[in-house]
Assembly symmetry: C2
Homo-oligomer: 325 residues x 2
């Protein structure tokens, strides 16, 4: 498996140019907002979303100013959701530094998130990129809808696999699909190619979130900086657990559901549940499904001619299902 910095190599200079472009997009007359936006964007994350836009553009034609515009749009939206997520989860740390809600306060964090959300949707208006907006419209609605679906208490502990897949599609995959579609739109007029890249991104995104949900059951804190059993503590029902509950001995399953429902889980509860999930195939099943999505995504690229961008997108697929970060 290649590491992320290797995968990004073919778009190294474009990514630098994008970061400059993005910085300029964020300029505002409001002093406090300027300070916060500079603070938020100083520490870069993995930048998977802009990388997807740029690689898709390269694959389908040429990376241009239009591609940078598209990449800014998704990065703005993604940053907005992270800031609101931190308010929602009362998270103190983001990318190794204090979150906006903890460095400033909730009030400011909600407003900065709103500002970025609006700018994300509207940045494409100045550029007259109506197609970008059309593509994104699906993603943005889907994101908050799916979060709300997962919060619906009345159904939270009765989630089935189909509902779980619908939730992660809205939460993660749809925006990644948008990234690839926008990249394609910025470089080609062929609508079949737009659709193919949207599907590619959707499959990659599904695998991405499945891998994320596996972290709760397979990694050590030291590797990903997020404690094992984190989702479990927050009583998030993800596929590894859902599958094991479905397949495990029913008396065990009932006991586990009951304890998740009613109690604050202790460390030993969590360890017990993790062993249960492994024992009843939850981890294997989820890994296999993630693999399938990546195979699908690869197949969608087969009709494209070989290029450094194609190689990078395939490597990115491998990275997504093997990463420990």
């Amino acid at each position: 498996m290649k590491i992320l910095s290797e995968i990004k190599e073919p778009i190294g200079s474009e990514l630098i140019e994008f970061n400059e472009f993005f910085k300029k997009k964020l300029d505002t007359d409001v002093a406090l907002l300027n300070i916060i936006l500079r603070y938020v964007t100083k520490k870069k994350g993995k930048q998977i979303r802009p990388v997807l836009v740029l690689l898709s553009a390269g694959l389908c034609g040429e990376i241009s100013e239009r591609s940078y515009n598209g990449a800014s749009m998704v990065e703005l939206l993604h940053t907005a959701t992270l800031i609101h997520d931190d308010v929602i989860d009362r998270a103190k740390i983001r990318r190794g530094i204090a979150s906006v809600n903890s460095e400033w306060n909730n009030k400011i964090a909600v407003l900065v998130g709103d500002y970025l959300l609006s700018m994300g949707l509207l940045s494409s208006i100045d550029a007259d990129e109506f197609k970008f907006l059309k593509s994104t419209s699906k993603a943005v609605g889907a994101m908050s809808e799916s979060e709300l679906m997962s919060l619906d208490k009345s159904k939270k502990f009765k989630i089935d696999e189909a509902t779980y897949l619908k939730i992660i599609k809205g939460k993660t995959a749809t925006l990644m699909a948008t990234c690839c579609e926008i990249g394609a739109i910025s470089a080609s007029d062929d609508q079949l190619i737009h659709k193919k890249m949207e599907d590619f991104g959707m499959n990659l995104g599904m695998a991405f979130q499945l891998r994320d949900d596996l972290f709760d059951y397979i990694t050590k804190q030291s590797i990903i900086g997020k404690p094992v059993g984190n989702d479990l503590k927050e009583k998030k029902m993800t596929l590894p657990l859902l599958h094991a509950l479905e397949n495990g001995e029913s008396s065990f399953s009932k006991k586990i559901i009951k304890s998740i429902k009613n109690e604050k889980l202790t460390k030993s509860d969590i360890n017990y549940i993790i062993s249960f999930v492994k024992e009843y195939g939850g981890v294997d099943y989820t890994e296999n499904l993630a693999n399938k999505y990546i195979q699908n995504s690869k197949a969608l690229l087969s009709s494209f001619p070989e290029s450094k961008y194609k190689t990078a997108l395939i490597d990115l697929g491998e990275f997504v299902i093997n990463r420990s970060t």
Copy 2:
């Protein structure tokens, strides 16, 4: 002065049709979201914003499905900001019923607000109303920018009149300008008319917020359901106070700024500040300025032929500066 229900008369049936239209717009597959949206929209506010869209459309041509689309857009955006405002201010009550954050929780309120904000911006995409979006783009960015401007601690107590006017423009007037512009766009292709209606809405919106800020100094709790001195308690520096501080004897002004800056204000502090504001012309000055904005807004309508819509818009201006609710 006519009361609001009288002003709404010429668009009575259209307003009912709009409310039906809006209800349908809000339909989603997500059960919890559906419940919350129905809850939120059951109690209608003054509906000034959709009323502005419909009256402007009537004035400039004809109220059509396009006008309903535009009115939905602004109502979605306005509702989104109210829900987020209640999270920010930890408000328990909105329109006489429990706020979303108190009936459910902050998490859900942030997400529902995000959903409505996105839907507001994107509802016009399905309808291919790119011009609506262009108009709204200014308003939405301006709203969060201006809130953040007013939160900037380093400058909060050194606000001058120009900055205050910039803040209320972003907070309130720009969205009202958008309402009138969108109404005009939905009924006419004449760009001069669009601009005229935008200016009309901007002037009306400035007067609307000035009147709102006067409530802190002139009304009794029983009338508007909001305690006198409410903004003061939250240390919001609005024009009546700013003007009095500028014109009052400097030793008094200094003492007042110091007490607002440092202390939790007692009831007697607040009463003292209110008398100070009245004594040094803060109320009169603000009332005069609101009147000027309404005169400007009226003048902008002079070139339109007489109609029931024109009369209603002029009456709405009178209502805005005389209302006690």
